[in-house]
Symmetry: C2
Subunit: 300 residues, 2 copies
Amino acid sequence: MQARLIALDWGSTRLRAFLLGADGAVLETRQSNDGASTLSGADVFARALADLVGDWRADHPKLRLLACGMVGSQHGWREAAYVRCPADAAALASQALAIDDALSIVPGLVDDAAQPDVMRGEETQIVGALALNPELAENACLVLPGTHSKWARVSAGRVTGFATHMTGELFALLRQHSVLSRLMPSDGSSPASPEAFLKGVGAAQEEGGLAHQLFAVRTLGLFKQLAPEQLPDYLSGLLIGHEIASELQRAPQRLALIGDPALCGRYAQALHHLGHAAPLQLDNTAPAGLWQLAQTLQLT
Amino acid sequence: MQARLIALDWGSTRLRAFLLGADGAVLETRQSNDGASTLSGADVFARALADLVGDWRADHPKLRLLACGMVGSQHGWREAAYVRCPADAAALASQALAIDDALSIVPGLVDDAAQPDVMRGEETQIVGALALNPELAENACLVLPGTHSKWARVSAGRVTGFATHMTGELFALLRQHSVLSRLMPSDGSSPASPEAFLKGVGAAQEEGGLAHQLFAVRTLGLFKQLAPEQLPDYLSGLLIGHEIASELQRAPQRLALIGDPALCGRYAQALHHLGHAAPLQLDNTAPAGLWQLAQTLQLT
């Protein structure tokens, strides 16, 4: 099949490249550790790109490239200014930043209805999810779990607003650097404990506040009510349980989970435990989003 | 004045010693960095004690010593088992752990009405606060801000229950290790911004959850709505604002703040900002508490 686009999902810690054919079919996938936060200076970004997909470009000299993610941040290759919510795929495409004749970068989104909130990369995953599942476009909440989880509200094909939760980052900080880590196994190889995870999800629904409930990770270990290897799952459940509780205070909507299947599975378990219907689950939809935006930009 | 007791406030990071005279008057004060978390083994604890107060003991060979704090934890000199709430000074004194003929350790408290919660050292500060301010004993909430803040409810002279908030530890983790630290000045010397602090306190009263609101520390910096040197105060306000909001959901009570005056001042500012009456503020009441417990134990 003929190659039509080089799609780049260029986040903080990783660069993922997809060679796309007709209808956005993924012909080939590659990745490197040249994340945007590890690079500095346009020539360094250009070299990282050449290292990963130089041969693709040599084989297909007329192919265009479209990138999304932290590559377009202040500390990325060049800054692609945020587009304000509400915004749809056309608004994002119209503000794409051309680095040169071949490469463009998709801008991020800002929701400045209250305190400003931002995303870079997730807007493209959302465009992909809506392209793959048009029934979500009318009215849904798309959840992208991760270091900085995003909950994006979609209505009539536009992202109307969103909220970030620093859930994954808090987990890593508390798991590695806090007093809570002292009772836990030091390696990450302990078997998962769904029971401890759901106990944490449940505890997060109680009163008292997150900073209080976190201390129970220590005391439940201290009094041997949870085994050391269960504590990371309890902590994960507390944090994810708080994130879900905060967001579901809004009017409940059709939910879809997007991203790493194992992590999305945790959110699905937590939602089930709290009595919610099973949400749609989608793997990384960035390639589909980049294809969709490239179509709008007539790059293919 | 004649020396009557050597009182030891022996926490995780510091050992503070007080030579007390009649009525618990502080005759002399010393401290070292031999905190309980830096020591291991009974002989090492004994040497740290001799290093700091060996001459006091030589000068006053019949003087008894009473210690409180993490020195009595699992990883301290020896473990003094927790006393269950509700508990008063007599209950704490009756469970003091004798290390030898001269030295005893005050036990900590556990509140196991729901998830277990624990304190070590603060129970003694509470005893001191009630001895110095008997009017608090009838019905009050004593707040001890810190790495792990404690909110203790007191009724009829007993601690009926309490809650820990990991506010200080979260601040340190987020200030030093998180994505939020990147936009902040790297040293701790920036001038305080009461305005940014109170803005954070106010934001904590909104919906959305702590893990969401924390991300605004980044975006307010990114969009230059706060200066880099204001961001630590905004973060502090968010965390303290959440702690206060969680606790004041309970029936409001007479509050007293105990501990470091600068930190207690922050809590007082936040409470004032939220429309609450000015609480009583007390500096470290551990010496008064150790004196009171020593009286009960007839050590003086």
